[in-house]
């Protein structure tokens, strides 16, 4: 089966959720191993399905702008490593006050914007305030609204005061681009501090990045990067086959992989993603208000078989909302594992011995229709009738996400660390457990990451045991590249794709 996943029509999750959630992808630090000789003046051609809508990540630029510019053109105070840890980037170090409400950051010396201006604390203040401004469409906006004030005691220091404790604050800062406070026209131009400056952007076609000679850190290992944009997965694969591109950031067509696997000229990298495919119940609507019904449905679906049929051996089973790269990951695939006998038993206990019928709102793009058909046939075996209602991403956004007008739905959630949505009873799936909400709140106010991790592990287990949703599988993250290439991120996850370590032999 061909999976031209998420073209532009995948509006809602790409434009709304993915813009939001995808921007919380992990880091792509765990690069493929570098080789010896390489061309220091090479141009690396990257193929992608995600073209930026504009170049401003607080102005609705979308997933593509993160992929192209994050870490390459713009840098944050911090950077996320591949195992989900936070590293200093433009911040040399930082101090937190005893009450956890004041963060003082010291900036790295010698950092220059592409325009030539030196980085000062004013730029940081400007960048932070830009994210939480009323017209900001940033994915990080709601997380950073915890900021009360930003002060600049001197050119090298930034003092941020929070309204309440936020253990994820530094982590969230890794998504905030530091921008020259004098910069104009950020939708078509840029002024960042990264290893590349923007070359040329031809809408609908390509975007090029040129090595920035004044970069404060280690210079990029290639001279130029050109991101070529495709709307169609097949066209993208053809480009790779004809050497028009050297690497594909995220392969969405498992059928196409064989031609690359059997060819010495290519390398297929199977990395970790954070994208989960969810069968989300409306936990506030009957019959899914009953935990036994949710558990029964979860147990009646053979996730492994589904994954096999959609991704042909790639990807992973997942027992909860937490991907292995999140610090609070635990393998919970045994909870509500595939067991049709148990499912029938639970249904009987819940008073549905003869089964029931429900409507499954299914986004109209891959892999949702395939998954819906599979679920329908699986649930039929335990007496549950599924009516598949195919809807557009736009309808999904209004009907399901905003109006909560659904029984159950399929959706992909691309974000890392998005378990915390289960602490919000007003979120679209309506999971409402006071204890879980408290744990999530306490976790954010925790004094140490250890304490945060412990609390979120509890949330993880509880939501899994409650079958708050049915987590069908974790998507694979497949980067296919020419074997002449090394140093590219293999876990580039959904949005980030650091290009500065790529070597072309």
């Amino acid at each position: 089966m061909n999976l031209p996943k998420k073209p532009l029509s995948a509006g809602v999750l790409t434009v709304a959720l993915a813009v939001t959630l995808a921007a919380c992808g992990g880091s792509g630090d765990n690069s493929s191993s570098g080789s010896g000789a390489y061309d220091k003046n090479a141009t690396v051609n990257i193929g992608s399905l995600y073209e930026p809508q504009n170049l401003d990540n607080t102005g609705g630029g979308g997933q593509g702008v993160t992929e192209a510019l994050n870490g390459n053109v713009y840098e944050g105070l911090f950077k996320l490593t591949d195992d989900g840890k936070v590293e200093n980037l433009l911040a040399k170090d930082y101090k937190v006050s005893g009450d956890g409400l004041t963060y003082t950051f010291t900036l790295r010396d010698g950092v220059k914007f592409h325009s030539g201006k030196a980085l000062t604390s004013k730029d940081v203040k400007y960048s932070l305030e830009k994210v939480i401004a009323p017209d900001s469409q940033s994915a990080r906006k709601s997380n950073l609204e915890v900021i009360k004030s930003v002060d600049t005691p001197d050119a090298k220091s930034v003092k941020v005061t929070l309204k309440q404790k936020s253990i994820s604050f530094v982590y969230n800062l890794s998504y905030v681009w530091i921008i020259n406070d004098q910069a104009k026209n950020l939708k078509t131009t840029e002024d960042g501090t990264g290893p590349y400056k923007l070359g040329k952007w031809t809408r609908g076609s390509a975007l090029s990045l040129d090595r920035f000679p004044g970069y404060w850190g280690t210079a990029a290992t290639n001279k130029q990067v050109v991101l070529h944009y495709y709307k169609d997965a097949t066209a993208l694969n053809n480009a790779l086959m004809t050497n028009a591109v050297d690497v594909v950031t995220s392969e969405q067509s498992p059928d196409a992989l064989d031609q690359f696997k059997s060819n010495q000229s290519y390398k297929v990298n199977d990395g970790n993603s954070t994208t989960k495919l969810l069968l989300a119940f409306n936990d506030k609507a009957k019959p899914f208000t009953d935990v036994r019904v949710r558990k029964a449905v979860s147990s009646a679906i053979d996730d492994k078989k589904l994954l096999e049929s959609v991704w042909g051996g790639y990807g992973k089973e997942i027992g909860s909302m937490v991907p292995p790269t999140d610090p609070w990951y635990e393998d919970l695939t045994k909870v509500n594992a595939y067991d049709p006998t148990e499912a029938r038993k639970l249904l009987k206990e819940a008073g549905y011995a003869k089964g029931f019928s429900f409507t499954l709102d299914t986004p109209n793009y891959d892999p949702h229709p395939t998954a819906a058909t599979f679920i329908k046939s699986q649930l039929a075996k335990v007496g549950i009738t599924v009516k598949i209602n195919t809807i557009t991403p736009d309808e999904w956004y209004t009907k399901v996400y905003k109006n909560h007008d659904f029984s159950a739905t399929l959706q992909e959630h691309v974000n890392d660390r998005d378990l915390v949505w289960y602490g919000n009873p007003d979120f679209y799936w309506g999971y409402d457990n006071k204890q879980v909400t408290k744990w999530v709140e306490d976790a954010e106010k925790a004094s140490s990451t250890g304490a945060q991790t412990d609390l979120l592990k509890k949330v993880n287990r509880k939501t899994a045991e409650d079958a708050a949703s049915d987590w069908l599988y974790l998507y694979p993250q497949i980067v296919v590249a020419s074997s002449k290439l090394s140093g590219y991120p293999v876990n580039g996850l959904n949005s980030q794709f650091f290009a500065y370590d790529i070597k072309k032999g």
């Binding site: 073209p7 532009l8 029509s9 509006g11 809602v12 434009v15 709304a16 959720l17 813009v19 939001t20 959630l21 809508q53 504009n54 102005g59 609705g60 009323p134 017209d135 469409q137 940033s138 994915a139 906006k141 709601s142 939708k187 078509t188 040329k200 031809t202 809408r203 609908g204 076609s205 390509a206 090029s208 050109v226 070529h228 944009y229 495709y230 709307k231 169609d232 097949t234 066209a235 993208l236 053809n238 480009a239 086959m241 004809t242 028009a244 557009t392 736009d394 309808e395 956004y397 209004t398 996400y401």
Partner: protein, 321 residues
């Protein structure tokens, strides 16, 4: 002729205005809210309202329309909701791909179809005449994307002679490069287009071959070639010209499939992106320009027909000259 031209021009303007109104209203009747694309998850009603306000979609429809029409009158196609970039330059840039693509495909298709259609008619009782008819029948049934994929597989993936898709980032600054990327898409469109054209040319030629005037001309001593040249071709071309107009217009609008198969940054792919994002100004801009092009093509086809066939000048213009 001047009176005709003026009337035709007035008709064109009225059609364009009507088309714009219909286009504008139909777009607004589609389900979905462009503000969704502009707000992120968890956006409050106030934020969504602010987004609507910022793009002006909260204003009454007539006001939105007059605003758009006012901009159009000054040659401004508006600003994209999603990217906040002006639509006009975007459309111009895309036209620099779509227009050469469509026109070259059209010319190539005509170069294939006219002789082939003629041969298919004149030599219809020979094996190659029948073969031509058969192949053109088959060609009509072939979907454009399928043919595109076959051509890519053969000439790009296997032979490696031509790129499988894409267009140079610098556009036409390196013409050889740009032409190389257009060869396969042009051939794809031309083959599909010529298949249906061959049939029209064939039937128009058959009509002429069976006509009394041709027979009369032959009886008066003209050779077949002379008779065809003086009477046949002219008559055969009249119906074909109107078909050519329609084919050219539909290719311009249908380029979206070919542009997608070959990853070309043309007008069609811009339209597809605009539709996916509910980006009304982009959709309106593209469709307005396309409508204008289609009307102009129809106008041109009409004009050419009248030049070729003097009888039409009288009939359509009510005898006025």
């Amino acid at each position: 002729m001047t009176g005709y031209l003026l009337r035709r021009l007035a008709f064109l303007v009225v059609s364009l205005v009507l088309a714009s109104v219909v286009l504008f209203v139909l777009l607004r009747m589609l389900p979905g809210d462009p503000a969704n694309a502009l707000t992120s998850v968890g956006a409050s009603p106030e934020q969504i309202a602010a987004a609507r306000h910022s793009i002006g979609s909260d204003k009454p429809l007539p006001e939105q329309f007059t605003h758009w029409a006012g901009q159009l009158a000054t040659g401004d196609l508006g600003t994209s909701f999603v990217s906040s970039l002006p639509v006009g330059p975007e459309v111009t840039q895309r036209l620099s791909v779509t227009v050469p693509l469509t026109l070259s495909a059209f010319v190539l298709a005509v170069l294939i179809a006219v002789p082939a259609g003629f041969v298919a008619a004149y030599k219809r009782r020979t094996w190659y005449g029948a073969l031509l008819s058969g192949v053109s029948q088959l060609g009509i049934a072939v979907p454009v994307f399928w043919l595109g994929m076959i051509l890519i597989a053969v000439f790009a993936l296997n032979a490696g002679w031509l790129p499988s898709g894409g267009f140079p980032q610098d556009g036409w600054s390196d013409p050889a490069q740009a032409i190389r990327s257009l060869v396969l898409p042009v051939v794809t469109i031309a083959l599909v287009m010529s298949a249906s054209l061959i049939r029209y040319v064939r039937s128009a030629t058959l009509d002429v071959l069976d006509s009394d005037y041709l027979r009369t001309s032959r009886a008066l001593g003209s050779s077949f070639g002379q008779a065809m040249w003086r009477h046949g071709l002219r008559n055969a071309s009249v119906p074909v010209i109107s078909i050519l107009g329609i084919e050219l217009a539909s290719t311009l609008l249908g380029a979206v499939v070919v542009e997608s198969v070959y990853a070309l940054p043309g007008l069609g792919s811009l339209l597809a992106t605009g539709i996916a994002q509910h980006d009304y100004p982009v959709i309106q801009g593209v469709l307005f320009v396309s409508t204008l092009a289609v009307l102009l093509i129809g106008f041109a086809a009409d004009l050419v027909q009248r030049i070729v066939d003097p009888r039409l000048r009288h009939r359509l213009s009510g005898g006025a000259r």
